[in-house]
Symmetry: C2
Subunit: 210 residues, 2 copies
DNA sequence: TCGATAGGATGATGGTCGTCATCCTCATTG
DNA sequence: CAATGAGGATGACGACCATCATCCTATCGA
């Protein structure tokens, strides 16, 4: 007996078959970066596998290396892009506020932010894991943490705090930023809603104080 | 043809062959817990494999399940034990100090502590990963974070801070603890020694203030 | 319009890891 | 002192993962 297997060239009508044009590739790349950004923050630096990320981006795992040289490369690019997006979103959100410092603190300590690390601050989501790495990711974090501190310093300035010869405002900025990040991380680690809300509220109020 | 394989009973003279007595088992268990404690803090919740931990404890991977039902069980027990040890060590270190609050803050923000997460505070080392788990580890963290905050509150009390009708001292304790944890995590994430030291120094001084 | 280039899919490979079955050896108990 | 129970070692299994070879096919330049 002879068995003939015919594989008909089904252009699977269900999925939006990925195109092959340059703009399609750029879109694919952006989707991969976006998915990676969320998954990394939500599941950790080593959480999502290449296959999972590609599937969530509507692709299969094999094509990954047409876009990135390695998983590490994707992680580095994705987190750098995440910081850029978040900085832009923050700037936009604070632009219209008459109390930018308070708005910043409220945003950061919002219950929504606490409940959704995959869409929130990449520092709070991944800091303790980044501390164990070396290379571009850690370097990016160093830059962005420094930038965050300067941002808080600027917000304190707009709130009327004098710089001070002894760098008092800079100290204040460092302390408030550390408190915000620590408070958010602790609130997320904690099981008890009451303690979580206490952490967020306390830290948020104190960071907003003028 | 017949092949006969003779396996001579070599009692490998090199290694300190583990005993089989009950006290030996207890010692093995303690070694496993101790190794796991360091590796988990140093490499993350999912860092060290069972085989790595057992080897570092002077054993082979197979015997692991004579001690623990699963890797998760080891993780939970190990971290609970770690908190106990650290609480005892802290209590001892602060007992003789005439400025317990300052000593606590100095200990926590010491360069030594920052450089060796594998021997330091399990909260700072693993908080952002614990936030992604559920079950006993997260429950333990919740308890211990609450205890840490109460500890800081007690230290503030010995420093002469009044409780206040509005819970001002409790707020102060929450804020200072969040700042300490956040500062340490950020200092570890950061690549630049100057920024790292600034974070530790600023946060340490402010947490010690009376 | 045709051929080269490259995006995407499929499948394989080598490595790692948690878990467990099995066996050997010793401590323990009667 | 013999028999039983258990600690520990060896090896294997299945799952998962990053990476890459290969093929198909659509785009794009000539």
């Amino acid at each position: 007996m002879m068995v003939v297997i015919l594989i008909v060239n089904s252009v699977s009508g269900d999925g939006a078959a990925m195109g092959h044009s340059q703009t399609d590739k750029a879109k694919s790349r952006q989707r991969i970066l976006g998915v990676a950004s969320e998954r990394l923050r939500g599941e950790g630096l080593e959480g999502p596998g290449v296959a999972e990320i590609m599937q969530a981006a509507g692709l299969t795992h094999g094509g990954f290396y047409k876009h990135f040289g390695s998983r590490d490369e994707l992680v580095a690019e994705s987190l750098a892009a995440t910081f850029d997006e978040q900085a832009a979103a923050t700037r936009e959100a604070l632009a219209t506020s008459d109390d930018p410092l308070g708005a910043f603190a409220a945003r950061y300590t919002a219950a929504e932010h606490c409940a959704h690390p995959e869409q929130g601050c990449a520092v709070a989501a991944l800091a303790s894991e980044v501390a164990r790495t070396d290379g571009p990711v850690r370097a990016t974090y160093t830059e962005r943490i420094a930038a965050y501190i300067q941002e808080v310093d600027a917000l304190l300035a707009t709130a009327g705090v004098e710089a001070g010869d002894d760098g008092a405002r800079r100290e204040e900025a460092v302390a408030r930023y550390a408190m915000l990040v620590g408070g958010l991380i602790l609130a997320r680690a904690v099981d008890d809603p009451a303690l979580r809300e206490e952490l967020l509220a306390t830290v948020g109020e104190r960071a907003a104080q003028r």
